[in-house]
């Protein structure tokens, strides 16, 4: 459905994305993850035809975004990171305006907007000015507006950033509904629990894609084993093993320790190191690596390069 090949985007002297290539299949929820400034927003904007790539090309639903951006626009819905509707217009006025821009036929207009209002649970707020909506409601309104022309691809730039956990869950319920209708979704998110819900994720760092696979495959191919443990002296326990061979990363939160090692055998070595320093560590066990572990490790590796 979406295909990027060797896409580069430069702004003056800064290269925002570099030689980026990946495909998104029809019906996928594709997650773009990565630290701030990794190039997620630029990538989405290039797919959305809001920016033209400096090099390379992007094909959406079989159409080249540079050669025929107007045709691409009919296929995509784009929700920018910042609330980009009019704060001084009501919910209904905003939706009507975008319906006009997409040339929604008069006869179907009312039914379409009623359906979207119902979908976004905004029916009773339709006469409220957008500026007076809560953050979560603004996001839902923006989502409804981006679905106005029944796009086949939905591009979302951090749609749940700054939204309370209940609204976040509600937003994902809406996304699932959209996804079930066959819409392909590309979502940039800083939340790795959201990334876990994607069919595939692309990890971006400094304008490059450093991993792209299903969340499970990324975890499996990590080449690391995760250990969890409890200790009253967690900080000291961390310091003791931090520099040891085979220890990829250690983090301590309160009494909890989380250690990433290259091989399962390292567990015994670490435990003996702790014993040698007479640090009491309990409940040491091997756990499934999280996407966050992969994120931290891969970025650490990229940084060394």
């Amino acid at each position: 459905m979406i295909s990027l090949s060797s896409v580069t985007k430069k702004f003056d002297t800064i290269t925002a994305i570099k030689d980026l290539s990946f495909d998104v299949n029809a019906g996928e929820i594709f997650g773009l993850i990565g630290p701030d400034g990794a190039g997620k927003t630029t990538t989405l904007r290039v797919i959305a035809t809001a920016l033209n790539p400096t090099a390379g090309n992007v094909i959406v639903a079989g159409v080249d975004t540079v050669r025929d951006p107007e045709a691409v626009k009919q296929h995509i819905g784009y929700m920018p990171q910042r609330f980009a509707l009019y704060p001084d217009l009501t919910v209904l006025e905003n939706l009507n305006f975008f319906a006009d821009l997409f040339g929604a036929p008069r006869r179907e207009r009312a039914a379409l907007i009623e359906r979207l209002l119902g979908f976004a649970r905004l029916t009773e707020f339709q006469t409220r000015l957008a500026r007076n909506l809560s953050g979560g409601m603004q996001k839902k309104l923006a989502l409804a507006a981006s679905l106005m022309h029944r796009p086949r691809v939905l591009l979302l730039d951090e749609p749940t950033t700054g939204v309370d956990p209940i609204s976040r869950r509600e937003f994902w319920d809406l996304l699932t509904e959209v996804h079930l209708q066959g819409v392909t979704i590309v979502i940039a998110t800083p939340y790795l629990d959201e990334a876990e819900r994607c069919t595939r994720v692309g990890l971006m760092f400094r304008g490059e894609l450093i991993a792209c696979d299903t969340p499970n495959a990324i975890r499996a191919n990590l080449g690391a084993v995760a250990l969890e443990a409890q200790s009253a002296q967690a900080k000291l326990a961390r310091q003791v093993i931090e520099a040891r061979a085979g220890v990829l990363s250690v983090s301590a939160h309160g009494n909890s320790l989380r250690v990433l090692v290259d091989r399962a055998e390292r567990q015994a070595e670490i435990e003996s190191a702790w014993r040698a320093r007479e640090i009491s560590v309990r409940d040491v066990r091997v756990v499934k690596p999280r996407l966050e572990d992969a994120f931290v490790l891969m970025i650490g590796k990229s940084n060394e390069r």
Binding site: F11, N52, K73, Q74, P80, D88, F102
Partner: protein, 378 residues
């Protein structure tokens, strides 16, 4: 009509109405400008506070003072006891002019000599001073002629009645016979308001879409750049015309300034002028990144427009290079047109050059602006 264009116009009208304060300001601006410029920015010099030091104290000296008083240029309401006192009043600004009649004035007249009279003028405001200067001389000269006639009458009885000045100049001022500033200012205010509203608000409204981030949503819709810009600008053009008519009516009510020429022609040529000011606004919006910046830049375009258009100061009096720059100022041409239609009641035939200049400048500015303006995020 294009439905996307219509919906942008509708949306823009909603923005304007919802922002009550700005909406009100748009209709109050013309009133404030007109009242300020019509009443305050006046060059009409009448009744300057004037003192007299009469060291002669004769019937003849009193006659001279009466002649000055009768001229209406000088309000003589103080009498100084000495030249020093008069000088002190001038120093501290209590008076703007002073008449000094030395002792022996009447004596000299009686002996047939030239009687000298001093006239001091506060030159700190050159406009006031030059008017007072000319008035002081002309009143004195006509008084001198009167005295001369009396002398000849005394020498040759019977001739005095037939003695008339050899030349009499009878100036008649056309278009503005009372030389009232309001007649000159009201038309100019119309030009300024047209430019101010359209340039500033065009720039503001477009930059707002960028600053607010809504442009990011717009670029992924099928709307075309021109539809967005034209749709956003049309409501402001409407308001500018409303204000134009507001000024016309206020000009009549407050200042008795009537349009002598064809109002339809005035409005028609205003559209031509608006092409240049909208273009300027668009140009500003393509450079400015924030609303604050665009406001600042719009004001920056206003300054040369006011000073290099003949709004206050005659262009003919400026140095050559500045006159050359003024040819690039659209308001310069529009003021000739507005003043021509309003004060002289002339038609198109009176200003073909101005119309041609606007026809060239408008599309030129719009072209440059649209080259710079892109409906994109870069």
């Amino acid at each position: 009509m294009n439905s996307r264009l219509l919906s942008v116009i509708r949306k823009e009208i909603l923005h304007i109405i919802r922002d009550r304060r700005t909406f009100a300001i748009m209709f109050v601006i013309p009133i404030i400008e007109l009242v300020l410029l019509g009443y305050a920015a006046t060059n009409d010099i009448r009744r300057l506070t004037t003192a007299v030091y009469d060291a002669d104290r004769t019937q003849q000296s009193r006659q001279l003072i009466e002649a000055y008083r009768a001229s209406d240029y000088f309000a003589i309401n103080r009498s100084a006891g000495s030249e020093d006192e008069l000088a002190a009043w001038l120093d501290n600004g209590q008076i703007r002019a002073g008449i000094i009649i030395p002792a022996g004035y009447a004596d000299n007249l009686a002996k047939g000599k030239t009687a000298q009279v001093g006239f001091v003028i506060d030159g700190s405001d050159p406009v006031v001073a030059s008017t007072a200067f000319a008035a002081s001389q002309s009143v004195g000269q006509s008084q001198g002629i009167k005295v001369l006639q009396e002398r000849i009458g005394a020498l040759v009885p019977g001739l005095a009645g037939g003695m008339n000045p050899a030349i009499e100049v009878r100036p008649r001022v056309w278009y503005n016979p009372e030389l009232r500033s309001a007649n000159y200012m009201v038309p100019a205010v119309m030009g300024i308001i047209l430019q101010f509203l359209t340039t500033l608000f065009t720039a503001l409204t477009i930059v707002r879409e960028r600053e607010q981030g809504t442009i990011e949503q717009l670029v992924v819709t099928p709307i075309k750049s021109w539809e967005l810009v034209v749709g956003k600008v049309i409501p402001y053009v409407g308001i500018a015309f409303f204000d134009l008519i507001e000024v016309l009516i206020l000009g009549m009510v407050l200042f008795g300034v009537y349009v002598r020429g064809n109002i339809a022609l005035l409005l028609g040529l205003s559209i031509l002028f608006l092409l240049t000011t909208l273009g300027l606004g668009l140009l500003v919006s393509s450079i400015a990144r924030t609303q604050q910046e665009s406001m600042f830049m719009a004001f920056l375009t206003m300054l040369p427009s006011i000073f290099l258009s003949g709004f206050f100061f005659p262009l003919e009096a400026m140095p050559g290079w500045l006159q050359a720059v003024s040819y690039a100022v659209p308001l310069r041409y529009m003021l000739v047109i507005i003043r021509g239609i309003m004060m002289k009641g002339v038609g198109m035939e009176a200003f073909p050059e101005q119309v041609l200049a606007l026809l060239i400048l408008g599309p030129l500015i719009l072209f440059v602006a649209s080259m710079r303006f892109r409906k994109s995020l870069e």
